[in-house]
């Protein structure tokens, strides 16, 4: 880490903190990845999962990250979601340099800036939909009454407020994923980060969920979708393809 920090300094001079209000009239820059490296020490050899990835995401974008397994796509997702820090390079999220943060600061950033949606939903089995949605607010220190209100609002957003007292095993797969999306939205995070959100759902339900993402995007949310399915990626407005730890393609498709 120390080594990385030292190595980072000159590059910071090159890249530096991104200009939030960019000159070309586009929305502010929300994510700035600046020459990101991620190296895993596997004992005898060092494995470079990412070698020098740079890109920017503006507020309100709908971005898909695709790539085959082993491409470094999951590593990139973990970095974007602040579950991990890069070995080298700077990651600016909403004006904060995440790459230099410790565990507790990362937890706070995840709580406030990132809304996760997982392939397997990851709901607490014994808690109601409402309580599941409240979870990030609990760690955000939001008092009970306000928490309740915000969670209800998020469930309304995903059209499940009438099911809020149900437990996950009383809900269908699509409903569970919508609860998970409500949980991701409840804190009004900067980004919604969805990892194969339709991977465990049938086709019809997948479309419902993708429509929901579409709607959330139209409402102004920044969405980053990580998927290996091309038709799902095609629903996004911009697609970044990762291969062998590098950006292979970065294209605006809508």
């Amino acid at each position: 880490m120390t080594e990385a920090t030292v190595a980072t300094s000159p590059r910071t001079a090159i890249f530096g903190k991104p200009d939030l209000a960019s000159a070309d009239g586009k929305a502010e820059i929300l994510i700035a990845m600046q020459n990101i490296w991620k190296t895993y020490d596997m004992g005898s050899e060092k494995v470079h999962a990412l070698h020098g990835v740079s890109f920017e995401v503006h507020r309100g974008e709908y971005l898909a990250i695709t790539g085959p397994s082993g491409s470094g796509k999951s590593t990139l997702m973990n970095l974007i979601g602040c579950l991990d820090t890069p070995s080298q390079g700077d990651y600016w999220l909403n004006g904060k340099n995440v790459s230099e943060m410790d565990d507790d600061e990362l937890a706070r950033i995840r709580n406030q800036e990132v809304g996760f949606v997982f392939q397997t939903f990851n709901l607490l089995a014994r808690a109601t939909a409402l309580h599941n949605v409240e979870l990030p607010l609990i760690y955000g220190g939001i008092p009970g009454a306000r928490r309740h209100e915000m969670a209800k609002q998020a469930l309304t957003e995903v059209d499940l407020v009438d099911r809020m007292m149900h437990r996950p095993n009383e809900l269908s797969g699509g409903q569970r994923q919508r609860v998970a999306i409500a949980r991701a939205l409840v804190n009004h995070p900067s980004i919604l980060l969805a990892d194969e959100p339709t991977g465990a759902l049938d086709t019809a339900t997948s479309y419902d969920i993708m429509n929901l993402f579409e709607k959330l995007h139209e409402e102004g949310n920044t969405i980053i979708l990580v998927t290996h399915e091309h038709d799902i990626a095609a629903r996004a407005h911009r697609v970044i393809s990762i291969r062998d730890g590098l950006i292979e393609k970065d294209e605006q498709i809508k």
């Binding site: 973990n78 979601g81 579950l83 991990d84 565990d103 507790d104 937890a107 706070r108 995840r110 709580n111 406030q112 996760f116 997982f118 990851n122 607490l124 014994r126 808690a127 979870l135 990030p136 609990i138 760690y139 955000g140 220190g141 008092p143 009970g144 949980r183 804190n187």
Partner: protein
């Protein structure tokens, strides 16, 4: 950004406790058998602690009460140094006896003293009346003050009087056990009995005195001290002992009474300045000290046993918590993903462990109380659960939760969120 942190943290910790407690009850509910066994382990530990404490406290209380019943705040002067359970040294055996003259000196010269009574005591005296005989009574040679000094009074008839002492009369006052043994169907007053073959006239019967340390105090015969000397001119240890019992003005005067007695006895017995006392003085407090010294080791063993029992319960808690952490790896990953810090996770699992042990503690406390109640009721052992033991019991069980929950909770807190989320 940092300015608002402490308040937020406090708020979060508070919310945390509720969330954690809910989570804990959830775990208990969804793993009923496993939780029940763990709780049982802690309960057994706490039952042991409560029960041991109740026995110790009960014995202490009973002993204190019995010491108290010897007469309020009496001070004993004896030939031997005060102790329980050690044989006197030959130096002690060869000391001069305490005499009636010594007692008189104390009565005359010690202002902190209201009653002085010298006495002789002989065990295993033979007492006969007609064809009935008792071989176990204790013969006590007393002065009239004895009754007052030790707060044991005559119930019917009269006690030994000054006249009896002066005239060395063969009169006696009987304890209740002897009345029952010798006069099952008769009134003992004004009867003549034989004590070691000498004829004595029964002039009084004592009130019931109860027992001390398992020895009946009703099994005594009181005769004038001078009459005792007449028949037993040579005092042979250990069958016969002599002592002076002194009653201070009040509890506050115990210390000064002891000081005065010491000075007087040293003068009476011609102890050279700087030489150690050739007599022993003990008060009830000193007796209690000796008792505590004697029983301290026993209590230490009992406490150690309780600790072992608690530890076994604690290991059970640690076991279930480790299983719980492993089972919920994915949940921990999720909680971390949505913003739980290490501290959050640590406190959640700690609280869960404490909830488990606190439930065990409450159950253990109730059963322990029940045990000591039953012991008190149906066995000769006195048992008493002092109010502080309840607080300590709950505290200890919570402590066990914290100590044995710490490692599993620390393990949970240190889990890597990425790995945990991937865990199946």
């Amino acid at each position: 950004m940092r300015a608002g942190m402490p308040a937020l943290q406090l708020e979060m910790t508070f919310i945390d406790i509720r969330e954690s407690a809910l989570m804990a009850f959830d775990t208990v509910r969804s793993n009923k058998l496993r939780s029940a066994l763990t709780i049982l382990g802690v309960s057994v530990g706490v039952i042991t602690v409560v029960f041991m404490v109740s026995i110790i406290q009960g014995l202490n209380k009973a002993f204190a009460a019995q010491i108290e019943s010897l007469g309020s705040n009496t001070i004993w002067a004896t030939k031997f140094d005060p102790s329980i359970g050690h044989q006197p040294t030959s130096e002690e055996i060869h000391r001069k006896e305490l005499t009636i003259a010594d007692a008189d000196a104390i009565r005359r010269e010690a202002p902190s003293v209201v009653g002085v009574s010298p006495f002789y005591r002989k065990i295993n005296e033979t007492v006969r009346y007609g064809d009935k005989q008792s071989d176990t009574p204790i013969l006590i040679g007393v002065t009239p003050y004895h009754e007052f000094t030790v707060s044991s009074y005559v119930a019917r008839g009269r006690y030994v009087t000054d006249l009896d002492v002066e005239a060395r009369n063969n009169v006696c006052v009987l304890g209740l056990d002897l009345v029952k043994a010798l006069f099952p169907n008769e009134d003992p007053l004004d009867k003549d009995i034989k004590i070691s073959g000498h004829q004595f006239h029964v002039v009084g019967v004592m009130e019931p005195l109860g027992s001390i340390l398992g020895q009946s105090r009703d099994n005594s015969v009181y005769i004038p001290i001078t009459t005792f000397e007449k028949y037993y001119p040579d005092i042979e240890f250990p069958e016969i002992i002599s002592a002076i019992i002194v009653r201070p003005v009040s509890r506050a005067y115990v210390k000064s009474a002891i000081d005065e007695m010491t000075d007087i006895l040293r003068k009476q017995r011609r102890v050279a300045a700087g030489a150690p006392n050739n007599f022993g003085i003990s008060s009830q407090d000193a007796l209690l000290d000796i008792y505590n010294q004697l029983t301290g080791a026993t209590y230490l063993v009992l406490t150690a046993i309780s600790c072992v029992a608690l530890m076994i319960g604690g290991i059970g808690v640690m076991n279930i918590m480790l299983v719980s952490v492993t089972e919920r790896t994915k949940e921990i990953g999720l909680r971390k993903a949505v913003g739980a810090t290490r501290t959050n996770i640590l406190s959640q699992f700690l609280i869960e462990a404490v909830v488990l042990t606190a439930i065990g503690g409450l159950i253990g406390l109730s059963i322990g109380e029940l045990f000591s109640f039953l012991t008190n009721r149906y066995s000769p052992l006195p048992a008493y659960v002092p109010p502080w033991a309840i607080v300590v019991g709950i505290g200890i069980s919570a402590g066990v939760g914290i100590i044995f929950g710490l490692w599993p909770a620390w393990k949970a807190a240190r889990l890597d969120p990425i790995e945990s989320l991937r865990w199946e």
